[in-house]
């Protein structure tokens, strides 16, 4: 796959069809992957494997402000973000050449470390199995055992918007129901839920990684950076601030969140932020009909439309217990 991508990128660059290619580059370690804008001279360094987990679509907002056409590799989850961004007119479609690529699920080095797999030096990807080369010998694992939570619940289907597809289209069923944990929390008592979230959110260091990585968070100036908003802050100065930030962050992407799971991936404190987003998705689906952000360019987002006979808050709130 990696070879195929390199070849195709080289072709596109040399034919002059695109001027730059957005992909991934590896650092000192195989999992040390950074998004990178390639040109003809460094396209050989483009990589694609289980650790290429950053989404690229958000970079298009900045990249399309520059001159020239940029090609971008989109994994299925990323292609939904791509469409959502396009729908919100966040980048110039004319300047983008979108290449859809398949994904077999990504692996996070932190998860592996927690499993006791350390000193990783390389990886050999298979469809079902993955071999991790480490300083202490090779470790072979079932992919389903090691892939990240977000990928285990991924409904990996390509969004219909791309310029070309590379590699075979993979349709797969999610390994587990993605609302499982949300439902589990809903069944708890308010006290238990409060304790759960206090434990999680109190670890927040307000680094804004969840916000800055989110493909739905593309405001020119975030309300949390705006001194005039009255809620601007740089630190979780009180437990209220922690809750406030995460409620508002999730609310502002409600109906636009594609459930790509990047927020939880980047959290340095391991807070399961995607659960907040999924709660909104679940409520939206059950109250206003199934909706998937980024699935198409036409349908209005759930919070941008209404029905005269929508349910009242009282019909929904408190029904989980």
């Amino acid at each position: 796959m990696q070879k195929m991508m390199q070849d195709r990128a080289r072709e596109l660059l040399s034919s002059g069809k695109v001027d730059r290619v957005l992909g991934w580059i590896e650092g000192d370690f195989v999992y040390d992957v950074t998004p990178h804008v390639f040109r003809e001279n460094d396209i050989d360094q483009l990589i694609y494997h289980s650790f290429a987990s950053q989404n690229l679509s958000k970079y298009l907002v900045g990249e399309t402000k520059k001159d020239g056409v940029i090609a971008v590799f989109l994994r299925p989850c990323d292609s939904y973000s791509f469409v959502q961004l396009l729908k919100e007119h966040r980048f110039d479609r004319e300047k983008v050449y979108a290449i859809a690529i398949p994904c077999l699920g990504k692996v996070d080095a932190e998860d592996l470390r927690a499993m006791g797999i350390r000193g990783i030096t390389g990886v050999t990807d298979g469809k079902e199995r993955i071999i991790l080369h480490t300083l202490y010998g090779d470790v072979e694992k079932e992919k389903s055992e090691v892939i990240a939570e977000r990928c285990r619940k991924c409904r990996g289907v390509h969004a219909p918007y791309f310029d070309e597809r590379l590699g075979e289209e993979l349709t797969k069923e999610p390994l587990t129901d993605r609302f499982e944990m949300v439902e589990k929390l809903e069944k708890m008592t308010a006290e238990e839920r409060f304790a759960f979230w206090q434990d999680e959110l109190s670890r927040c260091i307000r680094c804004n990684a969840c916000r800055n990585v989110c493909p739905a968070c593309t405001c020119e100036k975030c309300v949390f950076d705006n001194a005039a908003s009255g809620i601007e802050n740089k630190a979780p100065a009180s437990s209220f601030e922690e809750q406030n930030f995460h409620i508002i962050r999730a609310f502002h992407v409600a109906g636009r969140c594609t459930d790509c799971g990047q927020c939880s991936r980047v959290c340095p404190q391991g807070i399961p932020l995607h659960l907040l987003n999924r709660k909104f998705i679940k409520d939206i689906n059950s109250c206003y009909g199934e909706y998937r952000a980024g699935a198409d360019l036409e349908e209005k987002a759930p919070l941008n439309r209404f029905d005269v006979d929508d349910c009242e808050p009282g019909d929904v709130v408190g029904k989980g217990e």
């Binding site: 839920r193 304790a195 979230w197 209220f240 809750q243 609310f251 709660k279 808050p313 929904v316």
Partner: protein, 146 residues
């Protein structure tokens, strides 16, 4: 402990739409209908003007309950504002509950300019509910209490 509970006087913030419930509150006053003085009314041009941060900030600043009153669905002065309010608040209140905030602390009610009695009854009921719940501990900001 029991003694304190009895003395507890909640602070209630009511966001009232200028075109209906604010007038409703006025009417309940001219009709000499009683509702508790705990309710602090904030007039807004439309229930739709209230964004989630308003609600959260009210709690931060010491509210024990927040109620949002707007025109009945279909009666919005701006045609559709309250429909959007309904969707937003449904999601927000559900999220607050998901985080373990007592669901009784937030409420959305439709009160028209003619419903002075409904306004008073709603407020009486809401104050009583929140009084029973006690002080807002889960969404408070201790810095404000210093």
């Amino acid at each position: 402990m029991q003694v304190n509970e009895e003395k507890f006087e909640p602070t209630i913030v009511a966001f009232c739409c200028n075109w209906c419930s604010y007038a409703g509150a006025d009417l309940s006053g001219t009709n000499r209908l009683q509702y508790p003085a705990n309710v602090k009314i904030i007039r807004v041009p439309c229930s739709c003007r209230v964004n989630p941060m308003f609600i959260l900030r009210a709690f931060q600043r010491g509210a024990d309950g927040v109620i949002l009153c707007g025109c009945h669905p279909g009666d919005c002065h701006y045609t559709t504002g309250n429909y959007f309010t309904r969707r937003r608040m449904t999601l927000l209140f559900s999220m607050l509950e998901f985080l373990g905030i007592e669901k009784e602390r937030t409420r959305l009610e439709w009160v028209s300019a003619a419903e002075g009695a409904k306004f008073a009854a709603t407020m009486n009921d809401f104050v009583a509910t929140v009084t029973k719940l006690g002080k807002n501990r889960r969404l408070e900001d201790l810095r404000c209490k210093k």
